[in-house]
Amino acid sequence: MVRHWKPLLFASAFLALMWIPAVAFASVTGGCTGSVVIDGTTYGPANDTPSNPIVVPIDKSGVSAAWEGSVPFANTNHHGNLGIVVGPWNIEIANWSGANQADTRSANGDYSVDDFKAEFPVAESLIPRGLYELSGTHEADGGSCTAHVMVKIEGSPLSNPIGIATVAGTVVTGLTLLGSAFRRRTS
């Protein structure tokens, strides 16, 4: 048993690393609320873990997302942004600002998933599938909110070149890593 402590130790480390993201997320701070209905399913602040994401059915056409949101504070002179979390970075994908002298504190609308697909500079089949963490902030004279949710772009990773390259890269580098464990010949 003592001989096997090294592989057990590193298997445990890998498992721990993989579990951390599943438990480390919080959702909305500052009292803001919001929800979106996509393809008949209602999503909200609770959709903030990898096992419970907002699902975007990108392979379907004609799907719309009915959204609504509100803030509990004076919303004049507001500004905010939304970004995709990539490692330690937050890549901004949208921002907004305005005087909002009427102090409007809630909004709603419809957003077409087809419009979302058109935002990508590549064909639909090349849009990377998988799980994304979105992080956003909203600040105004009366307060501020932060939020993050998980978004899953539905589809098999093997349905586009990025996914195929990822699977191939994992297999090739995994086998190469295994090759480093072979003893060198000593003459």
Partner: protein, 59 residues
């Protein structure tokens, strides 16, 4: 070092990076700091340990 440490470090780094991408593509974990930085670092450590230990091949 009984195995191939340079190969272990480079392949471990790339394996960790591709594993992070694979977890994201399979919708298991997003590309957070833990996966995008942590997994390649863990891969390097694994490569060093495997090459130092070298449990495979002739003895």
């Amino acid at each position: 070092m009984k195995g191939r440490p340079v190969l272990g470090i480079i392949s471990g780094l790339l394996f960790g990076f591709f594993l992070a991408l694979l977890l994201q593509q399979l919708a298991i974990a997003p590309l957070t700091t833990v996966t995008l930085i942590g997994l390649p670092v863990a891969g390097v450590v694994l490569g060093i340990v495997l090459s130092a230990w070298a449990p495979l091949g002739r003895r």
